[in-house]
Symmetry: C5
Subunit: 354 residues, 5 copies
């Protein structure tokens, strides 16, 4: 249940816009990391206090504040106040059951989306909410727990790889979004391989476990689709947005990302269809197996029932039963048995049963 | 039947715009409660006579009139006249079979939607119609029966919690709509848990009761969807409305609510899909069970029918039947029995039947 | 066939715009009734000759000409000429296989829709085509046969009930449309009750008759949908029309009617879905029954086949068959019989078959 | 195959716009017929040479050139040159695998659509491509073979029936399109009757032939839909076109035709749905038949297997077997047989199996 | 897996816009071929170095640079720099897992689509990515490996066939796109024939191989659809584009191509539907076969079980068993056997089982 809907019951009747943490706490302590750079300079530090990050707001450099852990509402509140975030954005940040979306609050853009990973052991996709606030000079990201998924982006910043240090903060936001969508692709690839692998198994050996697997994959695909489709929607919105915060040069990159997200959704649908086909084949396999079983039964019955009948006839105790006195009767009976059996076998072979 | 369509037969040929109560009367007496407040003052009182609430219309303060019970058409008519409601709005208020909708009558906005609760005992969702009239200085809510679902909002007003006392009447309307949509979420959560719970049962023990349950959940989900989808539609309309009655500051809150409603509809669809999958698994389970049954039958038949045949042969009364006179024949027969049985068992094991 | 498509073959190669009556003649004589009223006066009369109604065209009062029977093409042609109808409108009036639609011919609006009734005896929905011409000062309705479905509207006119006498001719058109859509609701209610009623029957006793019923209801629902969906479409068009013939005050009423029509279509879809579910349950019921049958067969076979085998062994005529000479053998055999039977019964109980 | 896709392989790598005849040649010789008329005059003649028709282009009268047979590319090329047709229009004329479409080439409009006929003997719909070029003063129609489907229109022209001689060339185009769509209706009527007829057969006697029929009808309906849906689309385009070639007076006629085409598509969908329902019923019929078979088997087995067992017991050769020496044993055994049989029959009747 | 998603894992965290070759290398060496022509002149040469092609950029003639092989990133980078390509276009060129798309980079248009071929031996569609850059005076095509699919276009250029030498570079782009879409048609034709061919097999002999084939075809059709639908989308975009690079005279050709692509998608959907129908028939075939098997079993059992019972009765050893002493008993028994058998056969014939 929890996967499709975070428990919101706690919020019924709550003041809308008030901060309530929804979800399970995934870290003990909240960590704050600031990277501040422009074309020439680069500062990177771990902060104890979120207040220390606020002065960066006024600087013209690109400032990326990454906050891991959402349960410390006081900290979120301070950050919100310091950077001038909208009350609803702040509420959405701490509600980890949020549907992926984008909101334009004029002064800043708010994104909420899912970071996913595939837990091979449990065969389940784990997801974590990522919120981003994109302002004029700062980008704040809120994660549920520390993870190194953004490490390659940090590396690119540190090593001045590609264009990242030369262009604006919107490009940084794009780079992070790109990393996340790339991650979806890799999860779907992994799942897809498994889905294609069970195909053979289904037809040859339609056991309950295979059925359970098909259903598990179906659920995972539903789950992925539920998270990724709204992501595609907001990327579409974003690529068409009319906002000072997104520069014209970044738009082709966002469109490219949108294309990738569209492709991801297409492929999820292809796999969902494939799983439906698998289910059909499974059922056909079950029916075929029933046919096999019934053929065995029918062949045995159809051969031995007539034979048993014949033997039964000569087991009767009638005073007058001429055949039993004839010397070769018993052997003739065996002849009849053999003829009947051969006839039946031919009959079944003609029908392609054996 | 009543759940999908309130009996409207009474209204055929009626004057459109005329008040006819459609639905079942759920309270004996209509109760009227007025809360009137601004940033500083707060009045709360139970009224005997709806006429007493009309003077509030002219005051600049926020006035919330809550009317419980819809059968007293005279009272509704007085309220309508007093607050200047449109004839069609009034007709819709007393027709509890209304589809959720919003109507802009210029002077006021009219909302009609469903308040739901899940009756655990009957496993059925109960719904009640809520109509709202949002005017410049007043908000009138019409409920079928008293219920404390709005109590938390009243508390927030009384305790000045959040922004509710500082902002306008449109925010109050939003707060009430939010409470109702939050309620949908909690119902779906509860249903969803049950739906996920039966999954295991379906595969292991596909009884008629499980089938009946799946169908019950399907019906409940259809019912929810029928009520919530139009709600989402009107929230979309509302978040884009161009009306003096909705202030710009309230729009982000309405959009947020719209997002939640969209999520609710998404999840209902996810559960509907899941129930279809459940039905498929159920059917597969039934087929698997048939296979099991047939395997047992076939194994028994295929083993014992040949054995019985052999015994039958030596029960014949032929004068010449050489084997029966041989001393060890009987024991040899048992040997054959054992060999046949072992052969058959191996045959079945090779086919994975046992 | 006739229900889904009126025989149009007669018209192939015909002059478009030429009058050809398509359908079956339902009355012997065409009757014409004129109601002419304004706020103060009211005239109501049966006319012999359609020509007599034409002078009303020039009067400022509201004139409603109701014509029952469509086979008298000469009469239709006269009316058409007298009131200045478009050739295509006239062709559509006499073609009873028309799809519900609205056409704006500038001088007048043309509506074509279906009046339905449920024939309980045949379990079939009967439909009749109603065409309306709404001009500046006149409304002409063409029915296939006289029916009192509009009687309540006439009563409201006569008794000055509601607003009908105070407002214009477009309101009269609305009132008639409203009556027809209300009628759809009552038919669906009646069908819906029957559909919900068979649910129990399906699971407990899936006979051929139940299957036939499900299919009948499906067909009726398809038929309803085919007629009502285009009606909703033209109501949507009508509520947004930019025409002098529809006054602004009437628009909210039309919107209200549109809401009702949308609800009707929603509910038809809900019932169609429910019927699909019913079909699924039916099939599951059939499968469950097969399982029941096979269980009985398997239980009997699995118990008695081994017993018969044992008896068969001691019916053999071997010279040496030690057990048969032992005094208690027969009783021991019975003991074995009982043990085998109990074992088998336990086996089946463990599998939940009995 | 050919029905869903004409062989285009020949055209791969061809010069686009070059004439290549795709399809099978259906006539030996191409025939050309010109009808030229205005309100007063009428000329009708068979031409040997397409060049002779070109002078008509300059005349103000309505000129309808009908060409039967598409394989003579030289002739098509001459016509194209003479009337100034666009290269692509000419290519589409000779490609009989064209999807129905409309193209506005400024100077003329190009239509391509299918003329269909139902071949009762083969139970298959035959289709032929019709291309039309509508210019200012001329209309050229290209058919694959001569057919009298347009004869009624010619008759109307000759006899001055209806408005055809009084109005422009666009009305002639409409009249021809109308004839074709009317023809679709008659085909669907004929198929529809057959589809409704097999319904009874399906439930009572689900043979392989019935299944084959259902699938044939499905294919024919798919085929119809594939051809008629794009026709509807281009009629929609045509009824909204902004071109000098279509006069305002003709638009209502085109809209009327569009309505008919929409109705045709609706009805095709209804029949497709009905065929899916038929398939479901067929499968249910097959399952019901299996149940019948298994009931017979089970009843026989369940009655006779216990009886045979009992007889088997008293066929054993134990030295001590007290019952066999009792005088009435044999008769008692028969009594037991009868009691068991009656008990079993009651058991089956209680379960509604017999 | 690889067919639905090229391995992108390598790119996670990569610099967007950076060149990374995704796919498998299909040639050893990259080959470059330049064709440069106008109405009068024609140069065709193989280049060693991509730099040599850059001077053509400035010439007014039509220059078509075809590059086979994508793994040599240095070469691609040089080409990109020389012709001024956008970084994202270059990234897409070397990512062979790209979704078909069009991008307007102002100075040039970028197309990415799939060239397909049907590998008869493996029964699988092979696809290769083709990227096109359309500039003012040059067209660059990037293929994964050399193939002569464009040879006919080159021939047309060489022999001045059709209009290709008379018109601009956008027409060349069209000609290449046309060649590719024509190729889709021929693949679908080939697959379609096979799909229609298995129909008969399905009903008469529903083996596992047939089922596997149906599923293979389904997968191929899914694959085709996934590639061709976005192609249609971008052709739609292209036919409506507002760019200097596409001249007005080329638009009708693009529209024509769009029509063909739409037809291709329609037909793919028709075949997908047909395959679903095939699967249904297959399942019905399996069920029918089960019915056949059960009929055989039931007929044998129902005839011989009663007979065996009768024989069993007279095999009992009761002291008093009057019938066995009657002289004709044995023959009477045979008479009874025959009567029972005939009765049963009649019973089965009446039920249409034999």
């Amino acid at each position: 249940m929890a996967r499709f809907f975070k428990n919101r019951e706690a919020t019924i009747g709550q003041v809308p816009g008030e901060l309530v943490f929804i979800g399970e706490q995934k870290v003990h302590e909240t960590t704050i990391r600031v990277i501040d750079y422009d074309h020439e300079t680069l500062t990177e530090q771990e902060l104890k206090d979120v207040e220390d990050s606020i002065p960066y707001k006024e600087k013209d450099t690109v400032t990326w504040v990454n906050i891991n852990g959402l349960h410390d509402l006081e900290l979120i509140r301070q950050a919100g106040k310091g950077f001038g975030l909208h009350a609803l954005a702040m509420e959405d940040i701490v509600n980890t059951g949020q549907r992926p979306k984008m909101e334009d609050y004029g002064e800043h853009l708010f994104f909420s989306l899912k970071m996913m990973s595939y837990d091979e052991a449990e065969g389940e996709i784990k997801s974590e909410q990522l919120s981003m606030i994109l302002g004029k000079t700062f980008l704040i990201t809120f994660q549920e727990r520390p993870g190194d998924v953004f490490e390659p982006v940090r590396e690119r910043i540190r090593r001045q790889k590609g264009r990242i240090r030369k262009v604006g903060i919107d490009y940084l936001a794009y780079a992070l979004l790109d990393t996340i969508v790339d991650n979806y692709v890799s999860i779907i690839e992994r799942l897809g391989e498994q889905i294609e692998d069970i195909e053979e198994e289904i037809l040859t050996n339609p056991t309950d476990e295979v059925l359970a697997k098909i259903n598990d994959y179906k659920r995972e695909m539903s789950y992925l689709r539920k998270s990724i489709r709204p992501t595609r929607e907001f990327l579409l919105q974003l690529s068409r947005i009319d906002s000072d915060l997104i520069q014209d040069e970044t738009v082709p990159f966002l469109k490219d990302l949108l294309d990738l997200a569209s492709q991801v959704v297409d492929i999820i649908d292809t796999y969902r269809e494939m799983l439906s086909d698998h289910l059909n084949i499974y059922n056909t396999g079950v029916n075929n197996k029933l046919n096999e079983i019934m053929k065995v039964l029918t062949i045995f019955s159809a051969i031995f029932i007539p034979l048993t009948f014949i033997a039964g006839v000569y087991g009767t105790n009638f005073d007058v039963l001429p055949e039993i006195h004839f010397e070769y009767s018993y052997f003739i009976m065996w002849g009849v048995f053999i003829i009947v059996t051969i006839t039946m076998l031919k009959f079944f072979r003609r029908r392609n049963w054996i």
